[in-house]
């Protein structure tokens, strides 16, 4: 199945946006307005809900006309496109969205035709699946690590670099003692939160490419 690459799942949704001439501002603009105020840092809804590596939400106004001799045609609805690269199982992921960030999901998707709301999770999951388009080809640079595993690895990389830089030219016994202590501190460190900026590394590595 092309939606899956290793342990990563590629979800693509096309949800028709309500086409109500009386709505002012129009539903697509209301979605765009809401999205423009949504944070993308560690307070982002997708940082709070589990399992999202990268995700985007796009209002697709129409298809593109590429010029003659192609035929010009237009969509009758605008579509809300949701593209997510997520860990594991789709049902678990969608239920996680409905459980942890229902207010954001409802605020965005309530402008879409047929949207049942997050309150009834079974209906919500079914609606999202009805909007799903099968991915034809899915590429993932790293396809066997979860979001927590990647965040932990990035934290480890940063700490190891710092340790190595601070322990050059030090005796083996002292380095070993410090390394054992370093492992304890690293193991006890709180995990990096999704989309959180890491603290700046307190060493200057220099070099033209840094």
């Amino acid at each position: 199945m092309a939606n899956q690459n290793g342990s990563v799942y590629g979800l693509t949704l096309l949800c028709p946006i309500l086409n109500d001439e009386k709505a002012s501002p129009s539903h697509d603009l209301q979605i765009r307005d809401y999205l423009s105020k949504l944070t993308a840092d560690s307070t982002s809804p997708f940082a709070i809900a589990p399992g999202t590596h990268l995700a985007r939400i796009v209002v697709m106004d129409d298809v593109v006309y590429v010029g003659m001799p192609a035929c010009e045609e237009h969509l009758k609805s605008k579509y809300l496109v949701f593209e997510s690269n997520l860990d594991g199982d789709l049902d678990t992921y969608l239920t996680g969205l409905a459980t942890t960030i229902p207010e954001h999901i409802d605020a965005i998707w309530s402008h879409c035709t047929g949207y049942p709301g997050c309150a009834d999770k079974a209906k919500f999951v079914q609606y999202m699946k009805n909007c799903q388009i099968e991915t034809t080809f899915f590429f993932a640079a790293v396809n066997d690590k979860s979001v927590p595993q990647t965040l932990t690895a990035l934290q480890t990389q940063r700490a190891v670099a710092q340790f190595i830089a601070e322990h050059q030219g030090i005796s083996p016994a002292e380095t070993q003692r410090d390394f054992i202590e370093f492992l304890k501190v690293l193991d006890a460190a709180p995990p990096l939160k999704p989309a959180m900026n890491a603290p700046s590394r307190d060493i200057k590595t220099g070099g033209r490419n840094e």
């Binding site: 997708f46 106004d61 035929c71 690590k145 492992l183």
Partner: protein, 198 residues
């Protein structure tokens, strides 16, 4: 509009295809998926974190009835979503220079595709079929695809090394520590705030 978040750029593109050509493209993707060696250039470029191609058959736009009118199109549509590191120009230039054959194989079935070389008409085409992202999230905005790969190499090396680090004599530790350094030394680049790009 927010095509950029940290070190990642979100590209969306949509191109029309005559329905009979769609089946050829599906075969191309099937072969690309089956023959991992054909993905090697894409892997080696190493600045794409995730990318996908999605074919929407002309009568398969989701329909829920009510006030919605059904979309029935003349063309099938090929959607392309990419999450890449670097600028738009760097990405298109690299694609054109390194993956031109692969790109042509995928997009030649789309209407008016000019070919990926020369790059100027190719860029014009991409600019025409691209549409902007309204909201973009990444769990690790300070890390590139290479940073993520490197971080997992360091994590694996540390997991392997930690047993030796705590049990041996200082001399044994020193030997194992140097081996650990050799494994990770090329994977310690600093992550951090992205440079300003456009």
């Amino acid at each position: 509009m927010s095509n950029i978040n940290g070190k990642v750029y979100a590209m969306n593109a949509i191109t029309p295809m005559r329905p009979w050509k769609t089946w050829i493209l599906r075969l191309v993707f099937f072969l690309l998926g089956a023959l991992k060696s054909k993905q090697q250039d894409l892997i080696n470029l190493s600045f794409i974190q995730f990318a996908r191609w999605v074919i929407i058959p002309r009568n398969s736009f989701p329909f829920f009835g009510g006030t919605q009118e059904r979309d029935s199109m003349k063309y099938d549509y090929l959607l392309f979503f990419s999450n890449f590191n670097g600028t738009w120009n760097q990405y298109i230039d690299a694609f054109s220079a390194v993956l031109s054959d692969g790109l042509n194989l995928i997009w030649r079935w789309s209407e008016k595709f000019p070919g990926s070389v020369p790059v100027t008409p190719f860029k014009d085409y991409i600019a025409r079929v691209q549409f902007d992202t309204d909201y973009y999230y990444t769990a690790y905005p300070e890390a590139t695809a290479n940073d993520v790969k490197s971080a997992h190499i360091v994590q694996q090396a540390l997991d392997n090394f930690r047993g030796q680090a705590t049990t041996g004599t200082p001399e044994q530790f020193q030997h194992a520590y140097l081996e650990f350094l050799l494994t990770v030394q090329a994977h310690l680049g600093d992550t951090g705030e992205a440079p300003l790009v456009s």
